[in-house]
């Protein structure tokens, strides 16, 4: 469960104060499928960074799983990211010199999980995502769809409670994009909270709950039952 209370985020650009988020109040329940939409500059990326603890709000409170994570130290925030949050990026962000399997393994290496367990978990995930044959390939030997599947495997290998996807289909063609989206939606069955940031209304419409943002504020917050 995620809760933002009166969260604002402003940046200083030159000598000007720019508000990226203004007084956001938002509550997301565990297992929800949420899309955040809006034109560029509407604050959706800032929102995602805040939710992912990559950024801190200028004011307000962020509760994650009931705990206040706003004022955690950098070290503690890193631990929360490691254990509870998974990221999927538009540009995949795979480490080019590591193999697909090693990329999936990376979060567990950083967390200090024993090699035997890592190997097992990677194998299961690669199998599930149909990447077994590609495990030893480097990212530049993979297609766009395969790369994003590796990235999703990496994002879920630590069994996070929240998955934050930033334009996950942005660099993919339509067919591959749909496949990737289906894969992400499949994670909902495991009880993960899925947040997809997109400016593609067609993709955003698939979410059960759609948040539209404009100028750093939530303009609409609609729930659909499909």
């Amino acid at each position: 469960m995620i809760e933002l209370q009166n969260v604002s985020r402003s940046f200083t650009v030159g000598d000007q104060q720019v508000s990226a988020l203004r007084d956001i109040n938002l509550r997301m329940d565990a297992g929800e499928y949420i899309s955040i939409m809006g034109p560029s500059g509407s604050g959706k990326s800032t929102m995602l960074n805040l939710l992912g603890l990559l950024d801190r709000p200028s004011s307000g409170t962020y509760l994650l799983d009931g705990g206040n994570v706003t004022d955690l130290t950098d070290e503690q925030q890193a631990q929360v990211r490691r254990e509870k949050i998974g990221f999927v990026f538009q540009s995949f962000h795979l480490v080019p010199r590591l193999t697909a399997a090693q990329n999936v393994e990376l979060p567990m290496i950083l967390a200090g999980i024993a090699p035997e367990e890592r190997k097992q978990r990677v194998e299961v995930l690669m199998q599930n995502y149909g990447l077994s044959a590609r495990a030893d390939h480097r990212p530049d030997q993979l297609s766009g769809g395969q790369r994003q599947r590796v990235a999703i495997a990496r994002a879920t290998v630590m069994k996070p409670t929240v998955l934050l996807a930033d334009e996950p289909t942005g660099n993919l063609d339509r067919a591959t994009g749909w496949e990737v989206l289906k894969l992400l939606e499949g994670l909902l069955e495991q009880g993960i909270t899925l947040v997809v940031v997109t400016h593609d209304t067609e993709i955003g419409a698939r979410a059960h709950r759609q948040i539209h943002m404009l100028d750093g504020a939530i303009r609409s917050d609609e729930r659909h039952t499909t």
């Binding site: 990559l54 990211r81 990221f87 962000h93 480490v95 979060p107 200090g112």
Partner: protein, 399 residues
């Protein structure tokens, strides 16, 4: 993070850009190789010179006539100060801690045997000569007589003289003319070879008293005192000085302690080795700049990756250690490469020019490697800190 994973991650990054890593490591390697090569030669020379000087034992004090007032050779040999006599030598022999005393004169004379003539160096020595200088008599003995005017006409041959004049026959008991006088051969020295340019084998040894007479010299050129090795040189020097002043009435002689001479020599050679190592150190500095440059570039190139690592939950420290580890690994491998190159060139030189003494002390090798690692650490700190402090959001969006 497991130690092994840390190694895998750091090595993977410089294995991908092999050529670049190799060239960066080469900068350090050249520096280390220079340091190792120069210190190997310096240390080899050091040992060579010290061995030359100390092969006669280090617990020897020489007394020469005339007071050395300034640097340079003393003028006593030609001057008017009182000569050193055989009695002086005898007096020193009675001092405590003294093991042996050798009165010494040197000159040139003609040897004649069986129609063959040879001009050689004549060493006029005392009977304890061989003992004092740890030289060995190969066959026969040194003369047993006391060092006084009654010394009999005995001669001990250097191995080369024996070879030249007595080829194929036993010289012991034969009579040899030294400067016109008849001497009986009672011993042959073991071959000693050249020592600091003087051929000790092309020489004969006769009693000092007879040599003074033969060479027409009023006094000894030097008295050497060998003392017990467990006694400090200064203590013996003081005793000798007191006794000599007592006998001569004033300090008209010069004392040279082998130990002090070696110390001075050693420190001069140490400074030399150090200076040469410092020269090599400059190339190490250049290597360090290379590592700094490459690591700064690596941080810039991999900014997005740093952002990713942070998003995946890497702590600032982990990022710091990854980049620092890479810098250290670069310089450590460069260091090992340099060690191999340096030792290789040093040994190769030694093979080409056998006269050039070469010696690489283990301590230097270890120190050089530690220096390389320290350089990597120093050069890597700034880029690694920059990497660790990058803002994750900005880093992620750097492409």
């Amino acid at each position: 993070m497991y130690y092994r994973d840390f190694l895998t991650l750091t090595t993977s990054s410089f294995l991908t850009s092999r050529l670049r890593s190799f060239l960066t490591g080469l900068g350090i390697a050249i520096g280390i190789a220079a340091v190792i090569l120069l210190t190997s030669i310096g240390e080899g020379l050091h040992q060579f010179v010290l061995d030359e000087f100390s092969q006669f034992g280090t617990n020897i004090i020489s007394i020469q006539p005339g007071k050395t007032e300034t640097q340079g050779g003393n003028v006593g040999v030609f001057g008017s100060s009182r000569q050193l006599s055989l009695e002086d030598a005898d007096a020193l022999r009675r001092l405590p801690y003294v093991e042996s005393v050798n009165p010494s004169v040197m000159g040139n004379a003609e040897l004649k045997f069986n129609g063959k003539t040879r001009r050689t160096t004549i060493f006029g020595e005392g009977r304890e000569f061989a003992q004092a200088f740890t030289m060995k008599v190969q066959s026969g003995t040194f003369w047993p007589d006391a060092d006084d005017e009654q010394a009999r006409a005995f001669v001990v041959l250097g191995s080369k003289v024996r070879q030249e004049l007595f080829a194929g026959q036993n010289p012991l008991g034969e009579y040899l003319r030294v400067g016109g006088q008849r001497y009986r051969v009672i011993g042959v020295m073991e071959s000693k070879g050249q020592v600091l340019g003087m051929d000790l084998d092309d020489a004969v040894y006769i009693p000092a008293a007879r040599a003074m007479e033969l060479l027409n010299r009023p006094g000894l050129m030097e008295i050497q005192v060998a003392y017990r090795p467990d006694v400090a040189a200064e203590k013996v020097i003081r005793l000798i000085k007191d006794r000599m002043i007592e006998r001569h009435g004033r300090e008209d002689f010069t004392l040279i302690s082998q130990e002090e001479a070696l110390e001075v020599l050693g420190s001069v050679l140490n400074v030399l080795t150090f200076a040469v190592a410092a020269l090599g150190g400059i190339s190490l500095l250049v290597g360090a700049v290379g590592i700094l440059t490459i690591m700064t570039m690596a941080v810039t190139e991999r900014t997005a990756e740093i952002g990713l690592l942070r998003a995946l939950g890497a702590r600032e420290n982990q990022v710091l250690m990854l980049f620092l580890g890479e810098a250290i690994m670069l310089s450590a491998l460069g260091g090992i490469m340099g060690l191999l190159i340096g030792v290789g060139i040093a040994q190769g030189l030694h093979l080409l020019i056998p006269a050039l003494p070469v010696h690489t002390p283990w301590l230097y090798a270890v120190l050089a490697e530690l220096t390389a690692i320290t350089i990597g650490l120093a050069a890597g700190v700034a880029p690694a800190m920059r990497a660790a402090r990058l803002d994750p959001v900005e880093a992620l969006h750097a492409e």
